[in-house]
Subunit: 145 residues, 4 copies
Amino acid sequence: MDAPQDPGFRERIEKSFGRQKAMALIGARLALVEPGRVEIALPFRDELTQQKGFVHGGIIGMIADSACGYAAYTLMPASASLVTVEYKINILAPARGSLTARGEVVRPGRTLTVTRGEVYAEGGAHVASMQQTLMMLADTPDTRE
Amino acid sequence: MDAPQDPGFRERIEKSFGRQKAMALIGARLALVEPGRVEIALPFRDELTQQKGFVHGGIIGMIADSACGYAAYTLMPASASLVTVEYKINILAPARGSLTARGEVVRPGRTLTVTRGEVYAEGGAHVASMQQTLMMLADTPDTRE
Amino acid sequence: MDAPQDPGFRERIEKSFGRQKAMALIGARLALVEPGRVEIALPFRDELTQQKGFVHGGIIGMIADSACGYAAYTLMPASASLVTVEYKINILAPARGSLTARGEVVRPGRTLTVTRGEVYAEGGAHVASMQQTLMMLADTPDTRE
Amino acid sequence: MDAPQDPGFRERIEKSFGRQKAMALIGARLALVEPGRVEIALPFRDELTQQKGFVHGGIIGMIADSACGYAAYTLMPASASLVTVEYKINILAPARGSLTARGEVVRPGRTLTVTRGEVYAEGGAHVASMQQTLMMLADTPDTRE
């Protein structure tokens, strides 16, 4: 994996994550931030479930999308921000209990970065696999306009 | 579009949606239920945003996933339930303000159904496009185990 | 749909298609070129089949990928070329006989364009649906280096 | 990885691959067949190229689709056959020269199997990443009807 261009990437990502109100809404937190690799932990809460009582597939997508995006963001310069271009997720098993999403950079690029994510349930069940494309916006602040 | 096998499909879907606590958490509501076609409305709330103040891409995925899934569910027998196999979503533009997700069946099937979804912002901006695969579980209740 | 920036887009696309030796290998030809919309026809040949005698899923992907890419290319300036970033395709039914792939622009963009494609068999069966992302390379020739 | 249910899986897959005329058309051959893992080699030929002289993105998709599908097929009973439900592929770099596609099972299932594929060029460049869903057809011959 390429070395991060911004030595302060951990603090930058923690601050960015802290501004994601949607992550606070669902109760997700950053569990690991390494170059090209980020994990997000989601403790189980009944309000995250779908009609059968499993964690909603869209919630699984949310934490995988964020873990993959921040994995890409670790490798970017401090002056850049990034947007999700698209992602594809397979739900492999019903999601019971607390979850962990692991995002990893497959190929970093100047404009586009491709990542992959896995979501696991407590106990180790493999719940979902994601493949995602992100676009870097050079010299664009990662804050509200 | 095929006619629904279950004439009570509207009530069935409203009840199922009502059991999706994750939809209540984000404040989404069913806006339209027709054979092969469902819309979900999501009023804007600041707690749905990501670090730049737009609605989080994962939240966009959540309402599109649910709209597409329920579009498929309109055509299924009352005794069946369904699971999301996978979906792919392109984020086309930053999502500002309230959103509407429209799901539509592309090809209904005995085991697998393929759907498409679009997400629009108030004012009409096209925010996202989804393509999704669902699997019907015959004779499986759509409720908690 | 936006008007084409290059009034000579039809001839430009016919020439580009003519340089795609892979299209000649499988016997595909351009059937329609309109702003934001391209069709490719693929006459049936036994050498396009998989082990069960249907047209190979990868071949279906090839013509859908090209139809979608050229649909995007109709809207680009003559000095640009483009690359496929990614695509997702659902195979909806076994592909028997000759095929037509229709590509259409969903959202044209300065850097990224999103398209959709459908593949139909003779007789009208809906064989596949694609969603694709392309990146424009400004001031880059669409020819061999 | 689960052990194969059919001890004769290698021979079964070689025969099935031999019936894929589309693989012969492009000159692809089976390079590795292990439980849950298959590689396909594609020697470079000028007739596989797109307008810029790189191997066509659809051809890359063809060999990745087949490698992933046969990876899934290694784990299935001899009486079953399988169909591609959908795949998503990111093209990571222009494909120059000969290619190898590696397919691997992520999650085998009774009905659905999820796989991943990577395509590399000679010299090691990572050319593409795929995520794919397949459906097993129980008691269905893998031959022409």
